[in-house]
């Protein structure tokens, strides 16, 4: 009896060890659910996150970011820097070297010509390439030899890792897309739905906005990977249903972006079938303060730099508004483990994170009241403070979203505690973020006193993000109301910091500048950061190898995913 048990144990152990020895396709099928369904597999034709992530299973860039925001070479041998000679001393060229023997899924060789083509494809003026910003300032991409790619910039580029880095800028196959340049791009439906890539998986069937079937790429560079032979990538439904299918019914192995109330997620996880994972990037839910007067009576000059805001241009008021907010409570109610209070609009990566503003973490209604008293804002008969006939009455707008409306209601209450009257407004997201210059309700026009939304930046370099608050970025009629400087902040010192960062190559110096810019915005209370929002996803307990990554695609390491054998 004992002997048989031991023998059985030995057999089981052998079976397990052989299973642990990786073999391509040994683990069968993996099911992924994205509650927003991908519309295309070509990330250059859609800037949406869902499309980028789906495409990242198939298409790969030269280098990706890992979970800590460090660059890892994927198709390239290593990451070029000034130190290793890959980046020229004047910061105008970067030279990448492809790994040896790389093959596309159809068996043909990956060459530098594919990179040259990818650049041409995305920079074509009629193509409407959604990622063309990644190729900004590139004047030429050259195939030095089959494996060497030299990118030349028209200006000195302290951070030359835009082209061909990250999920936004992968390589596409020149042979497949040769006839799809410019205006022809959308007509290449077969190529857009089934791009030939270098990634661990290849598309077998693509149903737009529904489901993608993939199989292991037989030409993947690591012969032992991927562990899964098939992927079903289902789209559609809502976050709750996606969470349920992984955490409660176990039909799916991985669910993306579960923006659900903290208690709902906790209840689902209690079923014991899966695990909720979260990770933090640069996404910050913030309140933008309008420094200009949105009064409709001003007509065309409404919300432009010509008229300063009647009371929000007083820093005491802005500071009091910030002090009255309990950021910890907001996190608890809205995001749970998927959020943390923040006092910086630039919360990550670690080297850019300032600790100079942490006082805002504590709500302080009394000091806020005193601040307003001292500044001469006195409460009237209705409890609303006023000075020189100007009442502290705020129109607070945001996009329609359950959590945002909860936040608005809470903040309205806190502000009324310090004698500020608030009127709330919410606008459908497709209008609010739509940027239609004809609509009065866009977040760029900002025909309100304060507005709340979330924003972040791609990759790890904050240069262009911090440049958002340059004076010239203010949306105004001359720019068709486009621009990123929603508060219409205008400060020559700040603009000087932006200009300095654009020509600084040293990482520590760049960090100092970014922090200085962040502190300036925070200490003048131009932006009130509220919550550093993480990404929340869930995977089944039998799916191993998941490393949640907010700097790149969540599926960035799908080649390493495998089935965890039950003990």
């Amino acid at each position: 009896m004992r002997l048989t048990k031991i023998l059985l144990g030995a057999v089981a152990a052998m079976a397990m060890s052989s299973a642990a020895q990786a073999e391509r396709g040994a683990d069968g099928q993996v099911n992924i659910i994205y509650w927003q369904a991908p519309s295309t597999m070509n990330p250059y034709l859609s800037g949406g996150t869902k499309e980028l992530e789906a495409a990242s299973l198939v298409l790969e860039p030269l280098a990706r970011y890992d979970q800590d925001g460090n660059m890892v070479p994927f198709l390239a041998e290593d990451v070029p820097t000034v130190a290793n000679g890959g980046v020229s001393a004047d910061l105008t060229t970067i030279t990448w070297k492809l790994k040896e023997g790389l093959k596309w899924a159809d068996g043909s060789a990956v060459t530098a010509a594919d990179a040259v083509f990818t650049w041409k494809y995305c920079s074509h003026p009629e193509g409407g390439c959604a990622q063309s910003e990644k190729y900004n300032d590139v004047t030429g991409v050259e195939a030095v030899d089959d494996r060497t790619i030299k990118v030349t910039f028209g200006v000195s580029k302290p951070f030359p890792y835009g082209p061909f880095v990250g999920a936004q800028a992968p390589l596409i196959q020149a042979a497949q897309f040769a006839n799809c340049l410019g205006a022809k791009a959308p007509e290449c439906t077969d190529a857009n739905f089934g791009p030939i890539g270098t990634g661990p998986f290849a598309v077998t069937d693509f149903r737009p906005n529904d489901v993608i079937s993939l199989e292991a790429n037989s030409n993947y560079r690591d012969p032992a990977k991927p562990a899964f032979a098939k992927v079903t990538f289902k789209g559609g439904g809502d976050a709750a249903a996606a969470g349920r299918s992984v955490l409660e019914t176990g039909e799916f192995d991985y669910a993306w972006n579960l923006q659900l109330a903290p208690d709902v997620l906790a209840n689902m996880q209690a079923a014991g079938k899966g695990t909720v994972v979260s990770s933090f990037g640069t996404l910050v839910e913030r309140i933008m303060i309008n420094m200009t007067n949105p009064d409709p009576a001003l007509g065309d000059e409404r919300a432009t730099a010509k008229h300063a805001h009647p009371f929000l241009s007083d820093m005491a008021v802005r500071k009091a508004l910030s002090m009255a907010v309990d950021r910890k409570l907001l996190v608890e109610i809205g995001y749970g483990d998927a959020g943390r209070p923040t006092c910086n609009v630039l919360p990550a990566p670690e080297i850019y994170k300032s600790s100079a503003n942490d006082a805002c973490l504590v709500q302080d209604i009394e000091s806020a009241k005193k601040l307003l008293d001292d500044a001469g804002w006195v409460a009237g008969g209705d409890g609303v403070r006023a000075k020189d006939g100007k009442r502290l009455s705020i129109l607070f707008q945001s996009s329609t979203n359950a959590v945002r409306q909860d936040f608005q209601a809470l903040i309205k209450q806190w502000w009324s505690d310090i004698g500020v009257e608030t009127e709330l407004r919410n606008i459908d997201a497709s209008v609010f973020f739509g940027g239609d210059p004809a609509s009065p309700d866009t977040f760029q026009k900002f025909f309100a006193d304060v507005e709340m939304y979330a924003n972040n930046f791609d990759g790890t370099d904050p240069e262009s993000y911090m440049a958002n608050w340059e004076c010239k970025q203010a949306p105004r009629p001359e720019t068709q109301w486009q621009g990123n400087n929603m508060p219409r902040y205008c400060n020559a010192d700040y603009d000087a910091l932006v200009a300095e960062m654009a020509k600084t190559g040293d990482l520590n110096e760049r960090a100092r500048l970014a922090k200085a810019m962040n502190d300036k915005l925070m200490q003048e209370y131009i932006i009130l950061p509220l919550v550093d929002r993480g990404r929340v996803s869930a995977h089944s307990n039998t799916l191993g190898g998941v490393v949640l990554n907010t700097w790149d695609s969540e599926l960035w390491n799908a080649a390493d995913w495998h089935r965890v054998k039950s003990q």
Partner: protein, 335 residues
């Protein structure tokens, strides 16, 4: 009758053109932007370029005429090429969706099977349940059967499908684990096992929608039966000594069915329209889900084409209902 049908068909052509124009104008005037759902990290200049590449730079009348040309000329030509293997030379641009950048008609063709299977089946099941319930409820008015039937149809009427759908998922998928909560649109029926799998994944969405459909139709059936049961001809039939069975199922039912058949015919276009909410809840991803995703994504060509096809079906089935009415009821003649 034939002349009438022909006349109606010709009248439908300007109606449909007018509908397509109204839909186009409504969609165009509505505040929506195909680049609105892109991440904020994409700069405004790039967004503008994307809009230009979608053709939004053209004035509105050019865009409308372009859509008309693509939909009424290029698409039918394309279908003919595919069906008959013709090769009509020419580089024709088809109606392209802005979200997927693929031909809208192909998307619709891809989505139709699951919508017809699930929504169509639920309509058939709903009708099959509703007719007997309506007949018995009317014949035994105020009996316990009638009360229960009324109660259930009130539930079907008043409880929204997003509630019954999620309730069924929680009970049958999460607690009992009998049925999958997510519909697999790639599933192919090849043998009995896969057929059984198809049945399992259809049970819940079909049940939810059938309840809703049956509720409406059974009330119509009951009301129509009640109208007829008190008529003089029914008393005459009974006085002639006919059995109850013959009286109810032959005399009363046939006359009562006339209005019900038209109601059923008018409901058919809704089947093609899909069931937006139910499709979302069960991830059936049929035509209804395609429509809602396109509306959310500001994908005007898809919304325009889909709503126009729905309009066409509604006009068509209105005509069919009118003609059927004449066929079923000899008293009604249009000529």
């Amino acid at each position: 009758m034939f002349n009438y049908t022909i006349r109606r068909l010709f009248l439908a052509i300007p109606t449909l053109f007018f509908i397509s124009l109204i839909i186009f104008l409504l969609l165009d005037l509505a505040p929506s932007d195909p680049t609105a759902n892109l991440p904020l990290t994409i700069p405004p200049e790039v967004r503008e370029k994307i809009r230009q590449s979608l053709g939004l730079g053209e004035p509105i009348h050019i865009r409308y005429l372009l859509w008309c040309k693509q939909f009424f000329i290029n698409e039918p030509l394309n279908i003919m090429e595919q069906w008959f293997g013709w090769d009509i030379a020419g580089d024709r641009l088809r109606v392209l969706s802005w979200q997927t950048r693929s031909p809208v008609v192909d998307l619709i063709v891809q989505r139709t099977p699951q919508t017809l299977w699930v929504v169509g089946m639920s309509y058939v099941v709903g009708v099959l349940i509703a007719l007997p319930i309506g007949i018995i409820s009317a014949y035994r008015q105020y009996s316990w059967f009638d009360q229960v039937g009324t109660f259930i149809s009130m539930i079907g009427f008043s409880v929204p499908t997003f509630f019954t759908g999620v309730l069924m998922i929680v009970v049958f998928s999460v607690w009992l684990g009998w049925f999958p909560s997510i519909y697999d649109t790639t599933h192919q029926v090849t043998d009995w096992a896969s057929f059984w799998q198809q049945i399992r994944q259809m049970v819940m969405p079909v049940a939810v929608l059938a309840l809703f459909n049956a509720a409406q139709i059974s009330r119509f059936m009951r009301a129509s039966m009640l109208d007829n049961l008190n008529q003089d001809y029914v008393r005459t039939a009974r006085a002639k000594g006919l059995g109850e069975r013959t009286v109810v199922l032959v005399h009363v039912l046939r006359n009562s069915l006339i209005p019900v058949v038209t109601v059923i015919a008018l409901g058919v276009p809704q089947v093609f329209g899909g069931a937006i909410i139910t499709e979302q809840v069960f991830k059936v991803n049929g035509l209804g889900q395609l429509l809602i995703i396109s509306i959310q994504g500001g994908d005007l060509p898809t919304v325009q084409t889909l709503t126009f096809i729905f309009a066409f079906l509604i006009v068509l089935f209105n005509l069919i209902a009118d003609v059927l009415y004449g066929v079923l009821d000899p008293r009604i003649r249009y000529d």
